[in-house]
Amino acid sequence: MNEALVRFGRFGLAAIFGSVAAWALMLILVPHLMLIDYAFHANPGAIAKGLAEEGPSLYSFLPLFDPSDALAARTFIRTLLTSMVITLLALIVCYPIAYYLAKVAPARNLQILMLGLLVPFWVNEVLRAYAWRTLMARQGLLNQLAIGLGFEPVEYFNYELPVLDANIALFVGLIYSYVLFMIFPMFSAMESLDTNQIEAARDLGASWVRVHRRVVIPHAKPGIASGCIVTFMLCAGSYIVPVLLGGKSSFWFTQAIESQFSVLNWNGGSAYALVLELVCLIFVMAMMRFFKVTLRDITR
């Protein structure tokens, strides 16, 4: 520490520690503790009506476990399942693309391809969802094409997907909005792989499947983990995409949070938000465990 004092000076050290402490406390830790505190108290309205007690309670979490009205629980499960399916789908779709960009594409093509990926990446999620809203509307291109070909128009906003219990418009919009967050981490992880290793494996007679399983995937693990985490987190935490594309039956968990806030039930909203965060935390931990990577690997 003495060395640091000489190097940064008293004022410098105070500034460094002070800023980081203020950042960690005022922007991250205390707001979070507050959120937890709100979540574990009943809202004043319920207390006034005598439905809940004054002190710490689980009252705000109860709607999630209410068997007579399964709306909140169903919303929660829909959000979770759909987000997992979308993450998996994005992984499958993006893996070949990331590999092609990192290891196969000639440098000249790469520039233009990257531009083609970066532009939709930088376009706002609101506009991305809006683009699909117009495409899938009754007057939109997809339905007009279907009618032109003699098919019935599809009610994309009400057409339920089997199993997932979410409508197809929402599903398409979510995957479109977040698919790119899978490509870039995988791309940069694969880019750092020495191409000689792939060629050596090929020369020694390994099939392409084997090359990917034994050389590319082990090397790209941090990128894959980070892509999955970000995609899942953005998807489960998405608010505007479900608002713009979800039908009446495809309520998203973030909308459940919002509906608590819109009736000024801060406690209920905090409880739901905490549950969402917990799910994301579990997902992050599971991914880190599964791919055997550290936090530093995935945020790189």
């Binding site: 640091a4 410098g12 205390v30 532009v119 117009t134 505007i240």
Partner: protein, 287 residues
């Protein structure tokens, strides 16, 4: 030997073309609809017009939203850069014991859903401390994760700073503040630029965190979302058209700048240093 190479190559190309089409077509369609003279956004009965650009231009609330977005963006840059730099110096240069814990705390907002950041900031600053929800609360909520992005950028650059430069300056009697302003800051300049650009753009386009922490105010992004929710005219498409054109222009400029920097950074270094033996023989260097 399984699939012939040629078929593989073509199927990869077809797949790539399909994927790029999937990514870009919705945006092109959205841009095209800005020019149709129809009250709802559709391609049917296409009659060319530019009147929607005028309609978008005349919308007072859009300009207010833009102003709010700019102010919040500048606040976010002004807060995130010093915080990110302090965090980077702490984690890279000071050997503190709780380093990985501090790192985990500081980057955790990147991995948390935006809605949680917005709500916790709102609850703490507005409900608990009594600040009116608005520009400040929105800026603070955004800073909680944008400062972490800035920190990661600074850390990457700081790790490559040659410590012997600072040691030499110390030996020659420089004060810490001299080292900071004469060595650290000039060396970090490119990182400052990219962190500031990233912070501003992230702030500008953020929806969820902002929406849940800003109260009744409206940023540009919230304005667009509200427009879309209320049922739209193609004026929204006109705005989208302008945004996408600007995005393309910015991406091209940024790409060109990065390519030029890379060339400038690589060439003198390569000329100065003799190639290491391993590289000369085509072997991976042992480190």
């Amino acid at each position: 030997m399984g699939v012939p190479e040629n078929a593989l190559k073509w199927s990869v190309r077809a797949y790539l073309a399909l994927f790029m089409g999937y990514l870009l077509f919705p945006l092109l369609y959205m841009m095209l609809l800005a020019f149709n003279d129809s009250r709802i956004p559709t391609h049917r009965d296409f009659r060319f017009t530019v009147k929607w650009f005028g309609a978008a231009w005349d919308d007072q609330r859009m300009w207010q939203g833009l102003e709010t977005s700019f102010i919040i963006g500048i606040m976010v840059v002004a807060i995130s850069i010093p915080l990110g730099l302090a965090g980077a110096i702490l984690l890279v240069r000071l050997q503190i014991r709780a380093r990985s814990l501090v790192y985990a705390i500081l980057v955790s907002p990147i991995l948390a859903p935006g809605i949680v950041l917005g709500i916790s900031t709102f609850i703490f600053w507005s409900q608990q401390l009594g600040f009116r929800a608005g520009w400040w609360t929105a800026a603070l909520a955004q800073c909680s994760f944008i400062a972490a992005y800035c920190m990661l950028i600074f850390m990457a650059r700081l790790q490559r700073l040659d410590v012997s430069l600072e040691e030499a300056a110390l030996d020659l009697g420089a004060k810490p503040r001299h080292i900071f302003w004469r060595i650290t800051v000039p060396y970090m300049r490119p990182a400052f630029l990219s962190a500031a650009a990233l912070a501003f753009l992230q702030s500008f386009e953020n929806y969820t965190t902002t929406y849940f922490s800003i109260g009744a105010e409206q940023t540009f992004t919230i304005f667009i979302a509200n427009k879309v929710r209320q049922g739209v005219t193609p004026a929204v498409n006109a705005v989208a058209f302008v945004i996408i054109v600007l995005t393309i222009a910015l991406s091209i400029v940024a790409n060109m700048r990065r390519a030029r920097q890379r060339r400038a950074a690589v060439e003198p270094a390569e000329r100065a240093k003799p190639a290491p033996l391993a590289a000369a023989e085509g072997l991976p260097p042992i480190s």
